[in-house]
Symmetry: C2
Subunit: 219 residues, 2 copies
DNA sequence: GTCTATAAATAGATAGAC
DNA sequence: GTCTATCTATTTATAGAC
């Protein structure tokens, strides 16, 4: 058994690669979402994304300067996709402003569970420092969309209070999906849907609890 | 200024290591906290912990079977330390049950910012699967302590509602400190203290918002 | 633009000297 | 129990052929 007998097939592990044609840049971004969804940001690598597309590990560097620039493109697209999904879910949420806001917590949980990229990627320090206008613009639009919903949801549409409400809303939804992916809810047999629903209920509770003025803890 | 003058120290990069004496196991755990606090779980490595102590990268394997077993020991100690800090902060929080519960959100934020290990480590899937009784016991005690505070804080001390309140509380505190470490609050000049205070305020809002029965999402 | 090949880091883990 | 040395694997990134 010195070696698998009588086969010349497959003798060249990845040799004679079939040469890739097409829009590699877009395919790498899409494959990166798959890697993020399966492995998470901490185990993301350019090599994994390249293998998922079926190209050599050198090819991505023709389209992205380095790992962070690929991630920045992914993050920008994530912000756009997330805004899209929010728009869809809000449209189905009825007319109550509080409910239109709260359901976006569920949207967020489902999106991050599905695609692996949330505000931790979209607003992560290393990526923000790249000064990629595509990413910062998409991030701003996402926050603007959510802030608008928060302003209508809060009884007092003051920007300061809406910002605080939005902060708690994002933090809670992100905490839910992050801990879900880390296995924190593994004891109870939790699904993405149940976690999304619980995040939405937490957002409703936050809204009911109201926002005390931010500037008066020590003033 | 070719280099700090007059030193023969450091001439041998890591050669002739001074041979370590003492309680290496405990020192490795302590060094692991430093690594977690500085680099986070995703960049934790046995090699970094070993270098922080000043021993060879092989030495840790005399005390821990593999990377996960070292992390499990760290996680168990984190649960004990966190419970200690919670006891201290609750004792200073006065007599109002809601306030005694809410302040632990700030405790959690400060602890994870300081030590780098929170419920994502203490209850992480790979570590839970090791079936280390030291870790699972410490984790249970931590939850038990917090659940007791939640039961007193909620107007209805039903266990189901207290569990839901506690879940939201942990998720929110964890979301705050996680996103803080990821740079999400970098635009505003946020400190650990301000984030801890905001997490506590969010917990107060959750408590005010109350817990609707889990099984009546549309009632 | 994609390939093959390679260099330099870093990490997990083991073997064997002391 | 700690060391030095080593092996394997993975990744980032570059060089040069096609």
């Amino acid at each position: 058994m010195n070696g698998q007998a009588g086969q010349r097939r497959d003798t060249r592990p990845p040799s004679k690669r079939p040469y890739h044609h097409g829009n590699l840049r877009a395919e790498l971004i899409e494959a990166s979402f798959d890697v993020l969804a399966e492995h998470g940001l901490s185990e993301f690598s350019v090599a994994k994304a390249a293998r998922a597309v079926g190209v050599s590990t050198a090819s991505p560097y023709r389209h992205f300067a380095d790992r962070d620039h690929l991630l920045a493109a992914v993050a920008a697209q994530a912000a756009l996709e997330l805004a899209d999904r929010i728009g869809i879910d809000v449209a189905s949420a009825g007319s109550d402003p509080g409910e239109r806001f709260a359901v976006t917590a569920g949207t967020y949980v489902r999106y991050v569970a599905d695609r692996g990229a949330g505000v931790n990627v979209i607003f992560s320090s290393p990526l923000t420092r790249l000064d990629q206008t595509e990413l910062s613009d998409a991030g701003r639009q996402l926050i603007s969309l959510l802030l608008d919903l928060a302003e209508h949801a809060g009884n007092a549409p003051r920007t300061q209070q809406a910002l605080l409400l939005l902060e708690r809303h994002i933090v809670t939804a992100h905490g839910y999906v992050t801990l879900y992916r880390d296995g924190f809810f593994a004891s109870r047999n939790a699904t993405v849907e149940t976690i999304a629903e619980r995040a939405t209920q937490a957002s409703r509770a936050l809204l009911r609890g109201g926002t005390v003025a931010m500037l008066t803890p020590h003033v």
